[in-house]
């Protein structure tokens, strides 16, 4: 939308409510699926890959996966999968689904409604999967694992990156996303619009305790 300062000089650039409705409908209407045959073939390839990933994941492991810290030094923590739910998202814009999990300090902060700023030690994991093709009942289940992202609060230690340590590990081998510490500019850049929420997008539900 045009900024108010721009509208002052160019009042004709204002977006009417009906124009806005057109834009909104255009953006929220799902993209028409590809031809049935192509869709079916893509879906079966994706399903086969997800099956393979699952079978591999449940195999007994002789040693835990070794995961490198992110390039900014933020460590991975294997325990993320045991953190408790604070929300979930249906990202229909990029065909992913996410669970957002919080560690004990985050849950305590939610219980006390002390979430702006979040206390040091609070940490979140956002786990993302592809959305599988809808099944016969129209249910969209989790497809392949895409990534897990961590946000770890430490106002002093991470002062230069808005008080949070940021990390993203992709694929079932959990490869750090960065190529150098510069990657974290992407994280802070994308989270800037929620600076008034201590840079956290998630609106957590309460009641974990």
């Amino acid at each position: 939308m045009p900024l108010p300062s721009y509208l002052k000089v160019h009042p004709g650039a204002a977006v009417s409510p009906s124009g806005l409705a057109v834009l909104r409908t255009y953006l929220t209407t799902p993209v028409p699926p590809p031809a049935a045959q192509v869709a079916a073939s893509n879906a079966s390839t994706a399903a086969a890959a997800a099956d393979l990933e699952f079978t591999d994941w449940i195999k007994p492991k002789t040693s835990p996966l070794t995961v490198q810290p992110e390039f900014n030094g933020v460590p991975f923590t294997d325990d993320y999968k045991n953190w408790r739910p604070i929300s979930s998202t249906d990202r229909f814009d990029n065909h992913t689904m996410r669970e957002i999990l919080g560690n004990d300090i985050a849950l305590q902060a939610i219980a006390e409604n002390h979430i702006n700023p979040w206390p040091d030690g609070a940490a979140f994991a956002k786990v993302a999967w592809a959305q599988a093709a809808p099944d016969a009942d129209g249910m969209v289940k989790t497809g392949k694992f895409i990534q897990v992202e961590l946000m770890i609060k430490d106002a002093k230690k991470y002062a230069s990156t808005d008080g949070w340590g940021w990390g993203r590990w992709r694929g079932d081998d959990l490869k750090p996303y960065g190529k150098s510490a510069v990657f974290q500019n992407e994280c802070t850049g994308c989270h800037e619009p929620v600076c008034k929420n201590d840079f956290v997008y998630t609106m957590p539900f309460s009641g974990q305790r």
């Binding site: 408790r84 229909f92 979430i115 129209g138 609106m203």
Partner: protein, 135 residues
């Protein structure tokens, strides 16, 4: 957008156990009615779900499915987040793997409802869901 909790999405009502204290097994969306569901499990259930592809959960496993109506994410155009819960379903495994109790809770506040049809089918459906991969 001020910082706040998603109060609508809280589970209010008379539940025998609290699904939100548990860990995530998997999740799904129902595109026809616009809901999002997450399946949670207690430690016994999680241990099984993350190491096996079968529905024979051990004694003491508790699986809970929370289903929310979806709402647009006010902070991310193109995403949806939970609104009010529409149902909570709880499957408790007792003794042998195919002996279980299914309970369903609906409306606001959540109240136990009588099963209209085939609760065992629904319980079996939940027990047969594959865990989402979390490496």
């Amino acid at each position: 957008m001020a910082t706040r909790l998603n109060e609508d999405a809280a589970l209010v009502g008379d539940l025998p156990s609290n699904p939100l204290k548990e860990k995530v097994i998997t999740s799904w969306f129902d595109r026809k009615i616009g809901t999002m569901s997450t399946l949670y499990g207690n430690d016994a259930a999680i241990q099984h779900a993350r190491n096996a592809a079968t529905a024979d959960y051990p004694d003491g496993s508790v699986l809970s499915l929370v289903t929310w109506k979806e709402q647009e994410d006010p902070r991310w155009f193109g995403g949806k987040i939970p609104q009010k819960p529409t149902s909570v379903e709880i499957v408790t495994v007792h003794g042998t793997p195919d002996h279980y109790v299914y309970q369903r809770f609906e409306s606001s506040p959540l109240k136990k409802v009588d099963e209209r049809s085939a609760p065992y089918d629904r319980a079996a459906y939940l027990l047969n869901q594959r865990a989402a991969v979390m490496p």
